[in-house]
Each structure stands twice: as C-alpha cells, then as structure tokens.
C-alpha cells in the first residue's frame, strides 16, 4: 500500500462501481440524439455552448428510468455532488436548481474515477493559482489548507508557484469562454476532492474499502485455497437439490399465511404503537400475557417451531403434554437447548444433570429414545461436549413434532384457546396534533428483578428530540 500524500488512499476503480455507473448515465445524457436538450449560456459577450437546465436533466431522467420527479431530482443532486455536473454561474449550491440555472457536464479528465486520489501538489498549485489571480480569493478553509501545504511541502514551493504562474499564463492565451469553463471544471473537481467544512465527502468509503486505515485482505490464492474450493464444490455437487417450483411455492404459502400477522402489511390491532403513540399492542402481546390474542394463538398452528418460540404457546403445550404423560419430552428438549447455547464452563454440570434426570436407567423423567440413539448418546457422554445430546434432542424434537404437536392442534384445549382468544378493536388515529400524549416508558429488561417495583431511573416519556409523523 503506497503511503501517499492523498488523504483518501489509493482505491482501485473496481471498488467504487457506482462511479462507473454514474459516468454511463452522464455519457448517455450527452448523446446528441437521445440525450438532454443542450442550450447555450450567454454571459455578456461570451457564449458557452452545451449547457443544460436542471429541469431538463430531471425530465430526461424521469423519461429514461420511469421514475418519479422526487427520485429524478435526488439522482440529479447526487450527480452534482459527485462532480459530474456543475453550474456555470456562482453561487454553486450543492443541489440541482430547477430554475433557469444552466449546468454543464464535467470533462472526463476531471472525473472522480480518473484522477483519484487527488494529489497534494495539484491542490497546492490550484490554491496558488487562485491566490495569485486575485488576492483574497481564498475562502477560509482554503486559506487554512494553503498555509498547511506551504508548511508541508515547503521544499517544492518554488515549483508550485512557478507551475501556478505558468498555468495562468497559458490560460490567458485561451478565449474567455474556454477560460471560464476550465476554471469551473477545476473548481468542481476540487469541491469534490477537498470539500469545505460541513459538507460530507462523497468519496469516503469507510475502513477497509480504500481509506487505507484498515487494509483489505486478499487471501493468497495458493494451493490450499484452491484445494478448499475444490472440496467445497465437490461436496456441493453431491447435494440433494429441490426443484425450484417446489421451493418458490413455499414462499407464496409462507407469505400469505403470515400476511395477517405482518403489521407493516396488514396493520395491527388496536393500532401500531409507532403511529399512534399508544403501546397497548405491546401490552396485549407481552411475552407472558395471560390472555393471548387470536392471531397469536392461530400462529401456533403454523409450525411446531412457532409454537415453541412463543412462551405462552410453549406453556400451553407443556400443559397438554402433562395430560398425555409425555411432558418429560419437552423438558428434555429444553434442557438440551440450555446445553447447546450455554456457557462453556457449565457444560459438564449440565450434561450430568440431564443424564441423571432423563437418560439414566430408572431416571425420574426417563425419555423414550430408540436404542441406537441412546447407545450413541451414552457413549458420547463419556466425553461431554456441547453437542453430545444433539442426536437425542433431534429424535425427541421430531417425536413431538410428528406426534404430540398434531394432536395438540386437534385437541379441545387448543380449540378452546382459539375460541376464547381476543380480537382487539381498532383505535382510531389521533387527529389532534397539538394534544401531545405522553409516551409511557417501559421497564428496561436490564433492570434487576428486585427493583421492579421501584421507578426506573430512565425517566418517563419526555420530549427529548422526538419527532411525530414526519
């Protein structure tokens, strides 16, 4: 990695694909037949050709990409911010004006992808030119940069001044129109590469992606790398694949089944807390609420996983299993989960407790596993590790899923829950923007249980920077 003077570090063009895409847009905008309508800008006696108005640019984008005006304007602003379009007349705002202001396309020489990173020497020459041409033309941040550079590359300062003078002299040979255009082009280039304070740099990519702070890693493509790829591919070739039609149908089924439960798609009753500031919805759907809503109870029927994921569902299922005298299955499964996701240090004790409770011959809550799995498990218990009960756990899980779960769904217990479950009425949205309703804070899960009765330190809903509907 070259430790160059450029503040943004070297970054190959390939790592900024959006630049080449923007360039393609800009090129097609300049197409003589299909491009944006060109006009000429008259400045006193000079005429500058090939200029476009902001509205023409927006119109062209709307036509070409079938997008809304808002989106087209947004894209136009981004083109200006990245230096592909510049206004001919001061003041040059960072946006895209939709009035009579005329813009021109930046010359490819100055495109961000071509000349990046911008060298310090070039910036010094640019500032020197500006300084020489008109005393006091440098803006505050430019003055600062100028002084900084003067200190930093003092040894080549003569070169800088000489170059600056030479470029200014050469420029005087040109026609006034060309001179103006070149000056605009250069200024635009430096606006992008040395943005004034307060304007975020569009070139910043974040660490590891060209800012040079954390160099990106490229694994050496040695024999080991390819051997691993070959292994991965060979395994992949041996996979059993499912037909696309089957897989894709599954999405349709899943989406339609879950659609009523998706608050963004179907809303939620009584109302979405974020929209109405009323958190009743959360209270009614709290993890361990006594009376679950109808939608919630319905969801237990979608899959065994959904039933187990819901604490209320799981508790009801446990009650059902007790009636069937197979509650130890669920308890065993829960204990295995605790092992699988628990801390490393707890593994030996957990394994032992599971064995004593569920697997040992004559255990109080002995689980019925097939002999093969049991043998394998007991064998593995000699050297307990996190996954030692995985086979047994899967066996019990499948047992519950294929056997107990369908019976649960057909049971009177479940049907009764469905019938009792509530459907909440919808609350109308508040339409009085000036009647500010305080938002209740909730107890943080991080509070220790003992202080649950005490008022939380986090104060109740205050105005702190909140914004209502935008």
């Amino acid at each position: 990695m070259a430790a160059g003077p450029a503040s943004h570090g070297g970054c190959p063009r390939a790592q900024m694909p959006h630049l080449s895409k923007m360039e393609r847009v800009v090129v097609s905008m300049q197409d003589p037949d299909q491009g944006v309508k060109m006009r000429s800008q008259r400045l006193l006696i000079t005429v500058i050709p090939h200029a476009v108005t902001g509205s023409d640019v927006v119109e062209w984008l709307i036509q070409k990409y079938c997008i809304s005006e808002e989106e087209a304007l947004h894209l136009g602003v981004l083109l200006v911010r990245h230096g592909y379009l510049y206004a001919l007349r001061e003041p040059r705002s960072p946006g895209l004006q939709l009035d009579e202001t005329l813009y021109r396309f930046q010359t490819p020489y100055f495109w961000t992808s071509t000349l990046w990173p911008a060298a310090e020497l070039d910036y010094a020459i640019y500032l020197a030119k500006k300084n020489i041409r008109k005393q006091g033309a440098l803006v505050d941040h430019e003055k600062e940069h100028y002084d900084q550079l003067h200190r930093k590359i003092n040894h080549t300062w003569d070169l800088v001044v000489m170059q600056a003078r030479e470029q200014l002299r050469a420029a005087k040979q040109r026609r006034k129109g060309d001179r103006l255009v070149i000056a605009c082009q250069e200024q635009t280039y430096w606006l992008v590469n040395r943005p004034p304070p307060g304007v975020p740099s569009v070139l910043e990519q974040g660490p590891g992606r060209g800012s040079g702070m954390a160099r990106r890693v490229q694994m050496t493509k040695n024999t080991d790398f390819y051997k691993q790829e070959i292994e991965c591919c060979t395994k992949a070739l041996g996979r059993i694949r499912v037909k696309s039609s089957v897989c894709l149908e599954a999405y349709l089924k899943f989406s339609s089944q879950h659609r009523p439960h998706d608050p963004i798609m179907s809303g939620c009753l009584p109302s979405n807390p974020w929209i109405t500031d009323d958190d009743t919805y959360w209270a009614m759907n709290a993890p361990n609420v006594a009376a679950p809503t109808k939608l919630r109870v319905e969801r237990w029927g979608f899959s065994f996983r959904e039933l187990l994921a819901d604490p209320v569902g799981r508790a009801n299922f446990m009650d059902f299993l007790r009636k069937e005298f197979s509650a130890e299955n669920l308890s065993f499964w829960e204990a295995c989960e605790e092992l699988r996701h628990g801390g490393q240090a707890q593994i030996p004790t957990l394994v032992d407790s599971v064995y004593q409770q569920f697997l040992a011959p004559g255990a109080a809550r002995w689980v019925n596993i097939d002999s093969q799995t049991m043998e394998r498990t007991l064998e593995g218990l000699r050297q307990p590790h996190r996954y030692v009960l995985e086979d047994a756990q899967l066996h019990i899980y499948m047992l519950m899923k294929k056997d107990s779960y369908p019976r649960f769904l057909k049971s009177d217990m479940y049907k009764g829950l469905l019938a009792e479950a509530m459907i909440l009425p919808e609350t109308k949205r508040r339409v009085f923007p000036f009647m500010w309703k305080p938002r209740h804070s909730s107890l943080s899960p991080a509070l220790p249980p003992a202080s649950a009765s005490v008022e939380p330190v986090a104060a109740a809903g205050g105005p702190g920077g909140a914004e209502g509907e935008a």
């Binding site: 959006h18 947004h74 051997k227 694949r241 696309s244 899960p445 991080a446 809903g461």
Partner: protein, 395 residues
Amino acid sequence: MCDQTFLVNVFGSCDKCFKQRALRPVFKKSQQLSYCSTCAEIMATDGLHENETLASLKSEAESLKGKLEEERAKLHDVELHQVAERVEALGQFVMKTRRTLKGHGNKVLCMDWCKDKRRIVSSSQDGKVIVWDSFTTNKEHAVTMPCTWVMACAYAPSGCAIACGGLDNKCSVYPLTFDKNESMAAKKKSVAMHTNYLSACSFTNSDMQILTASGDGTCALWDVESGQLLQSFHGHGADVLCLDLAPSETGNTFVSGGCDKKSMVWDMRSGQCVQAFETHESDVNSVRYYPSGDAFASGSDDATCRLYDLRADREVAIYSKESIIFGASSVDFSLSGRLLFAGYNDYTINVWDVLKGARVSILFGHENRVSTLRVSPDGTAFCSGSWDHTLRVWA
C-alpha cells in the same frame, strides 16, 4: 592465459539428506540452508512441480464450479416472478419516519433491536455506543469505546447486555447497568480477538455465545464468559462484512457475506462451509435470512439485492433497477417475508416486493448514506441508521 575461477565448495553434511557432500547455499522461505547438488536440483524441480499443481488446481476448481452451475440449472424449472403472477399486487404503500434519534456525534454505523421491540443499541464512528428506548427517544445508556469506527453492535437476547467492536479488532460485551455508581466500561468483557477490524457480531440464542465476522477474512464463535474461541470459519477470500443466524430450532447454521463477492452458509458445529453462492458483482455488504429460514437475501455494492434459496441451492431473484446506481448497504425482511427493505449508499431506502421482484416504494429522508437497517422483532417498524448521524424509525 585465461584466469580460471574456482568455485569454493564447502564440504559438510547436507541439510536435507545429511550425506557428506559439497554444499551450496540455498534459500527456502528466506532462510539460508546448505544443500548438496542433488538435493538442490530436486528442490528446483519441486518448485516447478508446485507451480504446475497450482495451475492445475485452479483449472480444476473452475471446471467444478462450471459443473456445479450446470447441476443447479437442471432443477430450475420456473422463475419466481412467474410463480408470483397469481399473487395479487401490493396496494399503495405509505411509510413515514415516526421517530428520529439524534445524539450521535458522527456517522451511525450499526444498530440492533432488543427483544422488547422498542429498545435499540447503535454505534458510530466516534466510538460512542448508545442504548435508546426508541419509543420515547430517551437515551438509557452510553459507552465510549477506546477505538473509532465501531462497525458492529448487538443486543443480547436477555436485554441485559450489549456487544460491540470495530477498529480495535475485538468484540467486547458490556453488561447494562442502571447503577449510577458503576460505570459500564468497568464491567467490560473482551470476548473476541481478530487480526483485523470487526465488521459484524451477533449473539446466538443466548447471552453466552457470540458470533463475529472480521476484516481478517474469518468468522468465529466465542464463549462470552471465558472468551474462549469455540469454532472458527475459514473460507472467504477477503474481508467478511456481514453475518446472520438461521432461524431454526434444529439446525446450527449461519450465513456470511464478504468482499470476495461470496455468500457462504456455515455449520456452526463443524466449522465447515455448507453452501456457497457467488453471483454478485461486488462486495456483499449485508445478508439476512428469509423468515422461514429456507432462503436469504443479500445486498451488495453492485446496486442489487439478491435472493438465494437454500434447498434449490441457487439464486432465485434479483432486485435491481437501472436508476439505482449506488450499493445496498443493509437489507431486512418484513415479518411475513413479503417485503424486503434495503438501505442504499444514495441516502434512500427502497422497498421491494420479494415475490414479484418489483420495487414497491422509495423512502427519502436521510441526508447521507444509510449504513444499517433492521426490522423490529415484532415487525411493527424498521429502524435505519445513517452517516448523517441520525437513526430513524419508520412505520
């Protein structure tokens, strides 16, 4: 009379065959050894042999990949948008910013929801990590990390701790405390150690294990209590940028995406790569599982989001539009999986119809690139964090 130059030979025991011969100096991995002429010859040809093997391995890998694509194509009998033709189109879509969280002094890089559906943790470039009750917009906790660019943060399932890391190459866990006498930094636990920046982290089903992804090209699973490395995952050819855990009760898998344009599915137990997909044209910035766990979506710098099905073992949809030029930094599904929200580097959020492949809506509001986006645990809203120093909750 011509001068004759004599080669001065050192006689001794060869470093390889140990026979007493005339030795010549030889360099192997910048270490100087003395080999006899026979062994030196062999070493020279070994080098050749290795190069040949490298080339042949590379071509073998390429041809296998080609065969794999053929196999994958055989079972591809229909496209997603064709199947979705009989699904009714979505109506008018209105989502607005309902909360704006201001308080970070610099770019927001990452955020995560708490299971209580309203609290979030967010981290930024200036090293600050803040826990908010986003419903009331109150800040509840704040920690200053000793490094800048905190690119990863995660909320523990219990709601009692957070994990974060970035340019410090570590992942640290902070227990959340309301005790005014205790500073959170005092109870900090350093869990993960990588050799490059931390790009993503996530707790598994409990507070006791953390999965991390790093710029050093690896992912790793750690035990929080002891800081022990439980499993490491090698296979990416460049920085790993993102990861997501599979929503499954029986399996133990997760997916990761990296700068090598690949998305890889891993088995947490064995550390092996189970499936790999390489169809993006640029870095994969974000991966997220479809709610059923049978597929995942990825967002990339190539300005597209793609859906990969795990059972069909192939890419099944591309979400792209010619007017979308900037990379997608972050993706997430709505609860039913019908909508895909994607935050882009052009400051916008695009909402895609997952089944039909069309864009449903574009959301404006942020004033700089959207760096992170997550749907809330109960699907009532989603939160986006941006380089404009703010977070927004949309519903």
